[in-house]
């Protein structure tokens, strides 16, 4: 399927944040201050995305709700016909805010919960009582009728709580719980990344849980390779790596990058309009073509056309987005030795 413009754009609206997450891909910081675009420029970006035909705009951060103009941005995006979704750590979600989110017509709010217990979640988010506040945010939003997704990022410290997290999300009223793989792009280190065997085992558990919870809560995933282990229609062909194809990110520095976790600027919105970058940026054309993957486990893999591996993980591990995918469990890009993944190349030498 060829797409003229991305289906969704993740806009990093601010680097200010009220949490201190160990794994933040934006390297947002507590008390960072108002590092974000002026309102006029922000509204113009929303207009550009709407005119380009973008279906979903995902306001990201930092913490989007720390922007004083978050309601204006949301209102504009809804008015321009886009589906609005945003992620939050939950700290700013009061009953009043939840009702306002509902009034504005936000399609989905993703609340991050990286553990089913305060101990695990707060070890990752590093703010006292953030677990309790995040749970409360899910409950408040669900109560006023906002569709809530609980976002779960599996790391080595929270793999054991996956099933408990689904049960927790369901109990709080979430409609969906989504697994998004961890890529150590900025703050988080490689030690947080599950080994391929651990991730494969988790995904097997997660897809089983998806069946078990069917009809009660959607148990979903954002993982390039899951489609390969599912039959027929469930194996949506667009669930392979969609970097620079189904989606992209816009940073606070006005850069367009192919993916949220792939910090590879392909154009800057202070120099060009969004649609021009999307259609002409050489790096985007390059990443859309799987034939440009030139090394590692993906290059000889029979699934390369459908999957493509995680280009961000390749970039994170090797500094090159066109090599192997170190997070793949189907055809691992190395050998697990003493709890670490040693790249195939290193093993051979």
């Amino acid at each position: 399927m060829k797409l003229t413009t991305p289906l969704y754009v993740v806009w990093e609206t601010t680097l200010d944040c009220n949490a201190r997450c160990v794994h933040c891909y934006s390297d947002a910081t507590f008390g960072h201050g108002p590092v974000f675009w002026p309102l006029g420029e922000s509204l113009d970006l929303i207009d550009q995305l709407a005119e380009a035909g973008v279906i979903i705009i995902a306001f990201s951060g930092g913490e989007f709700l720390l922007r004083p103009d978050w309601e204006l941005l949301t209102e504009r995006a809804v008015d321009r016909g886009m589906q609005v979704t945003f992620a939050t750590n939950g700290l700013r979600v009061s009953e009043v805010v939840a009702r306002r989110i509902k009034e504005l017509g936000v399609a989905n709010v993703s609340v991050s919960l990286d553990g089913a217990t305060a101990e695990v979640h707060e070890a990752i988010r590093r703010i006292p009582r953030i677990f309790e506040r995040a749970c409360e945010a899910v409950r408040l939003l669900a109560e006023v009728g906002v569709r809530v997704t609980v976002n779960y990022t599996p790391m080595r410290t929270n793999l054991a709580q996956a099933e408990d997290l689904i049960a927790l999300a369901y109990g709080l009223g979430a409609k969906k719980v989504n697994l998004t793989e961890y890529v150590y792009t900025t703050r988080g280190g490689v030690d947080l990344m599950p080994l391929p065997s651990e991730l494969g085992s988790l995904i097997a558990r997660w897809t089983r849980a998806s069946d078990a919870w069917k009809g009660r809560i959607d148990v979903d995933w954002h993982d390039c390779r899951v489609a390969l282990i599912l039959p027929g229609a469930e194996a949506d062909p667009y669930k392979g790596c969609g970097a620079g194809y189904t989606h992209c990110r816009i940073t606070v520095d006005h850069d367009v990058t192919p993916c949220v976790v792939l910090p590879l600027p392909v154009g800057n919105l202070r120099e060009k309009r969004f649609v021009e970058i999307w259609r002409t940026a050489p790096e985007l054309h390059r990443i859309r073509d799987r034939a440009n993957i030139r090394g590692g486990n993906c290059v000889a893999c029979e699934h390369i056309d459908r999957c493509g591996g995680c280009r961000a993980a390749s970039f994170a591990r090797y500094g090159d987005a066109y090599l192997g995918d170190p997070t793949c469990w189907i055809k691992p890009d190395g050998v697990e030795i003493d709890g670490r993944l040693v790249a195939n190349e290193m093993v051979r030498s």
Binding site: M1, K2, T4, I56, Q83, A107, D220
Partner: protein
């Protein structure tokens, strides 16, 4: 199908976007699924505004330049069934 359902209506909030080569992308926010249809499919989808299924079939046949051809009618019914299966339309 006509024995059980009389009318057909687009599901709420389906987004439609023109793509290259005369195709259209239908996005269902409730299922998060994408569906690609051609120009003719888009025209038939647009007919699903709550009108009778028989009318959609008849007008769909006209789009194909035929008068209620059994083969084309069946194709259109099959297409409507596919839309229903994918939660892109509802039938009553």
């Amino acid at each position: 199908m006509n024995e059980f359902f009389l009318s057909v209506l687009k599901t709420e909030k389906i987004r439609c976007r023109a793509e290259d080569q005369g195709n259209y992308l239908l996005y269902n926010p409730l299922t998060d699924q994408l569906h690609l249809v051609d120009e003719r499919g888009k025209q038939i989808f647009d007919l699903c505004d709550g009108r009778a299924i028989d009318d959609v079939v008849r007008e769909g046949c006209a789009l194909f330049g035929v008068d209620s051809s059994p083969a084309v009618s069946q194709q259109i019914l099959d297409f409507l069934c596919a839309l229903k299966k994918r939660h892109l339309v509802v039938m009553h």
